[in-house]
């Protein structure tokens, strides 16, 4: 249209700063991680030693690595089989009430905007064995105090519960937005035909929100793979490593134990696992659910 919007110098000037930062903090780190994952290095000394696939073979045999991966798996299982049904249930409820909709919408979202670290501290207090809220509640029905965060049996579950408390509302809002954007006349037509509220939810609303449920599951998987701060704040991976996830195990190795090379191997593996899970999900579940849709 005109020269001033074609000026290459201005164009370069405008894209350069963002692009530079993008390369420094996204592109370079990926390649750097891949490179160091093939080395043995403490992160400080002059020369990383190239050792080929040794780190990867080490990971295959590293029991604690697989224990950590299993805990990431628990995050996924817990969110898909416990959180998602709750999310759908509460979204449908909120979408269908006439009064107090605004209150519910505002309140359920609140935990999701807060710092995970502070939520970890808050829940640590709730789980406190002697004066914490949860044991006091259980005491009312005569259950002996449990050591929520320091007993290997309950520690992981306690973290999952806190994580669910923080994020369920966030997903409810996403699903709710999808439900509210469905044209009302579909629902009204069914209502005139005499369908009950439950029938309408199951046969009209639910099929129409499948794509957003799919997004919620994808986000849960991604979130599960990068969970770290909540674990660090609540248990530091303990007791005896029973709550370590891949990210915290990686940090322990690279920063605390100066095994920078192996730390990066774990980082690359986190990346690969996430890709595989996402791809599998897209291939087998997301696509199939689309086929059922209409």
């Amino acid at each position: 249209m005109n020269k001033s919007l074609r000026n290459p110098l201005v164009y370069i000037l405008f894209i350069f700063p963002a692009l530079l930062l993008f390369f420094m903090f996204f592109i370079y780190p990926i390649f750097s991680s891949i490179y160091y994952s093939f080395t043995s290095w403490n992160g400080v000394s002059a020369n990383p030693k190239f050792i080929g696939f040794s780190n990867y073979l080490k990971a295959l045999e590293d029991e604690r690595f697989w224990e950590s991966a299993k805990n990431n798996g628990w995050f996924i299982v817990f969110s898909c089989f416990i959180q998602v049904p709750l999310i759908i249930f509460f979204s449908l409820l909120i979408a269908n009430v006439k009064k107090l909709k605004g209150l519910y919408k505002t309140a359920v979202f609140l935990p999701s905007i807060m710092s995970t670290a502070v939520i970890g501290i808050l829940w640590g207090f709730i789980y406190e064995p002697n004066i914490g809220l949860l044991n006091k509640l259980l005491g009312l029905i005569g259950i002996e105090p449990l050591y929520w965060l320091s007993d290997e049996k309950y520690a992981m579950f306690s973290i999952l519960l806190t994580n669910a408390w923080q994020w369920t509302g966030f997903y409810i809002i996403m699903v709710l937005a999808a439900i509210l954007s469905i044209p009302r006349d579909l629902d009204e037509a069914a209502e005139i035909d005499g369908a009950t509220r439950l029938q309408r939810a199951l046969s009209i609303t639910l099929p129409l929100i499948k794509p957003i449920i799919s997004v919620v599951i994808m986000l849960s998987i991604a979130g599960a793979m990068k969970a770290a701060d909540i674990v660090i704040v609540m248990t530091k991976g303990g007791p005896a490593g029973s709550t370590d996830v891949l990210a915290t195990y990686m940090i322990k190795y690279a920063i605390t134990n100066f095994k920078y090379g192996y730390g990066n191997t774990i980082a690359v593996l986190i990346f690969i696992f996430t890709l595989i899970l996402t791809a599998l999900y897209q291939l087998f579940i997301a696509r199939r659910s689309e086929r059922i849709e209409y």
């Binding site: 001033s4 919007l5 074609r6 290459p8 201005v10 164009y11 405008f14 894209i15 700063p17 963002a18 930062l21 993008f22 903090f25 996204f26 370079y28 990926i30 991680s33 249930f89 509460f90 409820l93 009430v97 107090l100 505002t106 359920v108 979202f109 609140l110 905007i113 710092s115 995970t116 670290a117 502070v118 970890g120 501290i121 640590g124 207090f125 709730i126 406190e128 002697n130 004066i131 809220l133 006091k136 408390w165 966030f170 809002i173 996403m174 937005a177 997004v215 990068k226 770290a228 701060d229 660090i232 704040v233 990686m250 940090i251 920063i255 730390g263 990066n264 980082a267 690359v268 990346f271």
Partner: protein
């Protein structure tokens, strides 16, 4: 429908609200109770007497004031700069005439949304160390700016694309060049989107824990979430003061949320759907 049947959903939803809100109430009550004994004796109830000295002592003991200020200025500065750089980039790729380059550059940035950034933490640690800014606030500010760029650019670009092209024609007639069109016409028109992006970026930076925990070691430089965790570890036994600390770190977020909740919900969900 009978009134009973109508209230069933509300019963479920109220129980959910109770689960969401009760922990906050518990912490607020505990923060003004005298000591652990008082909390243990009466965990659910209203405090018998209000001990506000907990708040004063926490502010002083835990240096909450210092952490609070650090978090505030780091979060604001990083958010503002990422919006400025992101807006320039978005302007270039949506409003300037460089067809194929625009598409390529924009797609490159989209890739950034797919990368789990936790797994990039180690190389970034090394990079920050090489830049000699480890243990300074820049060690957080620069990565925060970079991290926010993909989301910022995607939202701002979507908004800028929707502006009618007649605006530029008129501006060019009036003799404005590209930087002038950006600064005086497009940027002011983008303000609604900028506000949303600012809030999302600000909250993200305000809440960030991992980098803040590992990239800073000087106590007085710490941000609020890290300071809180440290305080808890040191004063493990004083739950009343710890609760006061939690209240301090949660109140600003609740105030922002109360004022801007519509925009926050919209902005955060927009980002996640696209991510």
């Amino acid at each position: 429908m009978t009134p009973l049947k109508k209230s069933i959903p509300h019963i479920f939803l109220f129980s959910y609200l109770l689960v969401i809100l009760f922990p906050f109430l518990f912490v607020i009550f505990s923060s003004v109770k005298k000591d652990n004994n008082e909390i243990a004796r009466n965990p659910f109830g209203f405090p018998k007497e209000f001990v506000f000295t907990n708040y004063v002592e926490t502010w002083v003991n835990a240096k909450i004031g210092t952490y609070f200020f650090n978090s505030m200025y780091i979060s604001i500065l990083a958010s503002v700069i990422s919006i400025l750089l992101g807006a320039m980039f978005a302007f270039a790729v949506t409003r300037m005439k460089h067809g194929r380059w625009n598409v390529a550059l924009f797609s490159l940035i989209l890739v950034g949304m797919l990368i789990p950034n936790n797994s990039l933490m180690l190389p970034i640690y090394l990079l920050v160390r090489k830049m000699n800014i480890l243990d300074t606030h820049l060690a957080l500010i620069i990565p925060y700016i970079a991290n926010a760029l993909p989301f910022t650019i995607i939202i701002l670009a979507a908004f800028m694309r929707s502006l009618p092209s007649e605006i530029e024609e008129a501006a060019v007639m009036d003799g404005l060049r590209a930087p002038g069109i950006f600064a005086r016409i497009v940027l002011p028109l983008t303000i609604p989107a900028i506000v949303t992006v600012f809030i999302v970026n600000f909250l993200g930076n305000w809440n960030e824990f991992l980098l803040a925990n590992y990239f800073l070691s000087t106590d007085t430089l710490r941000t609020l979430p890290v300071g809180m965790v440290q305080f808890r570890d040191q004063y493990q036994m004083n739950y009343a003061q710890m609760s006061a600390g939690i209240v301090y770190s949660v109140v600003p977020v609740i105030i922002i949320y109360a004022v801007l909740q519509e925009q926050i919900i919209e902005g955060v969900t927009a980002g996640s759907v696209k991510g």
